[in-house]
């Protein structure tokens, strides 16, 4: 249904549309980052497109491919009942120079979604009014959803307890022995109290 939109985009922007495809019924256009804002504005304002809602914005890390990141938005038109996916590709192998225009002026929801993409991938949205981390804490170094960020690498804000403080071996704090802590082993406690007396 939104094939028409793709054709219209190609007719209007020509070479700025790098490729289009309609896999699994989702119509997709990959566009030049420099035309990102212009194309998005067109899609929102053109009466035949009328994408009033930006459902989603996210980043994708395609490690080892340059440009490395994709910024993907999914647009939804309530009045026309069609949807489209718009993508652009930014950033070099090290994730440097990943910059694209911000869409906050078009859809309010872009505010948080772009902050999230910035937080997770380090993609910078120029002219975003308030670009700071949203899910991670400000002290966090690195971008967790990049494929080269190790999944288990934590950056604790408070120091973990040491063994002296805890008084028990730290990796074996919970008593996992066969007889300990069974719900019916509560008898042990009573017994111990009796023994002590």
């Amino acid at each position: 249904m939104s094939k028409a939109v793709l054709q219209k985009l190609q007719a209007t922007f020509g070479a700025a549309i790098l490729e289009t495809h309609s896999q699994f019924g989702d119509d997709t256009a990959v566009v030049e980052p420099s035309h990102w804002l212009a194309i998005a504005t067109f899609l929102r304002d053109d009466p035949a497109c009328a994408f009033e809602m930006m459902s989603d914005l996210c980043g994708v890390d395609r490690l080892d491919v340059t440009p490395r990141f994709e910024v993907v938005i999914h647009l939804n038109s309530l009045s026309k009942g069609h949807r489209i996916r718009l993508k652009t590709r930014v950033g070099d192998e090290d994730g440097e120079g990943a910059q694209v225009a911000s869409l906050v002026g078009l859809w309010k929801t872009a505010n948080w979604l772009e902050r999230e993409a910035f937080d997770m991938f380090g993609i910078t949205f120029q002219t975003h009014p308030d670009l700071r981390r949203i899910l991670m804490y400000p002290e966090f170094v690195g971008y967790p959803l990049r494929k080269d960020y190790p999944a288990e690498k934590t950056q604790p804000l408070v120091a973990y307890r040491t063994e002296e403080e805890a008084g028990v071996p730290l990796d074996k704090q919970a008593p996992f022995g066969p007889h300990e802590g069974m719900s019916f082993a509560r008898n042990d406690f009573t017994k111990r109290a009796e023994d002590a007396n």
Binding site: T154, V158, Y160, Q173, G181, R186
Partner: protein
């Protein structure tokens, strides 16, 4: 009530009588008047709601109903749900603000060990930050398990034991309890629910 209140006979030069007795009495009093601070963050909170509401009524029956949202007025910290690295300082601060004596109950696998979120943002168990008295595993634990945990904690309070304890299933299929399980299932919920 089977609190270990025992009269003890002492001979002349022993002077431990009063303290023993007072400790036991205090323990008994404390275990029936726990003021909880629910530190509810995640999915386990849904079970926590179920626990405190009519069907299970799992806290009022044990004198642990009244929630206090000020840490200074509470003595039992329920850590319900995943603790992320970002949340950790908050949890620690709240624990430190609580008055002695204080106890901590780790509700759910995430609070106990981090659960299956073994990644950059999750604290692998609250015991990395604060001491924990009773661990209730389960994702989320059934209210029955939590009630077991609460009773376990009461016993710990009564005896003054501070070693961490874990709640284990009463019927463990691996240990030959299948029969009880089958009985429970056939006579219990199914007909009861449909009536």
């Amino acid at each position: 009530m089977n609190a270990p209140l025992k009269s003890v006979t002492l001979d002349g030069n022993q002077n431990g009588f009063a303290t023993t007795k007072l400790d036991a009495l205090l323990g008994w009093a404390r275990k029936w008047s726990l003021f909880k601070y629910p530190f509810v963050t995640a999915c386990c909170g849904m079970e926590f709601m179920a626990l405190t509401s009519p069907r299970f009524d799992g806290t009022a029956r044990f004198g642990a109903e009244a929630p206090r949202f000020s840490p200074r007025q509470s003595d039992l910290l329920w850590v319900v749900g995943t603790i992320s690295q970002r949340q950790a300082p908050v949890l620690k601060r709240i624990y430190e603000q609580m008055m002695e004596p204080k106890w901590v109950l780790g509700f759910g696998t995430c609070a106990s060990s981090g659960g299956f979120y073994d990644n950059y943002t999750t604290v692998a168990g609250i015991d990395k930050i604060i001491p924990c008295d009773v661990y209730v595993p389960g994702c989320p634990p059934r209210p029955e398990a939590v009630i077991d945990g609460l009773m376990l904690l009461q016993d710990k309070i009564a005896t003054g034991d501070r070693t961490p304890r874990i709640v284990k299933p009463r019927f463990d299929p691996a240990q030959g309890h299948q029969e009880q399980l089958v009985q429970l299932r056939t006579k219990g919920v199914i007909d009861g629910g449909a009536k």
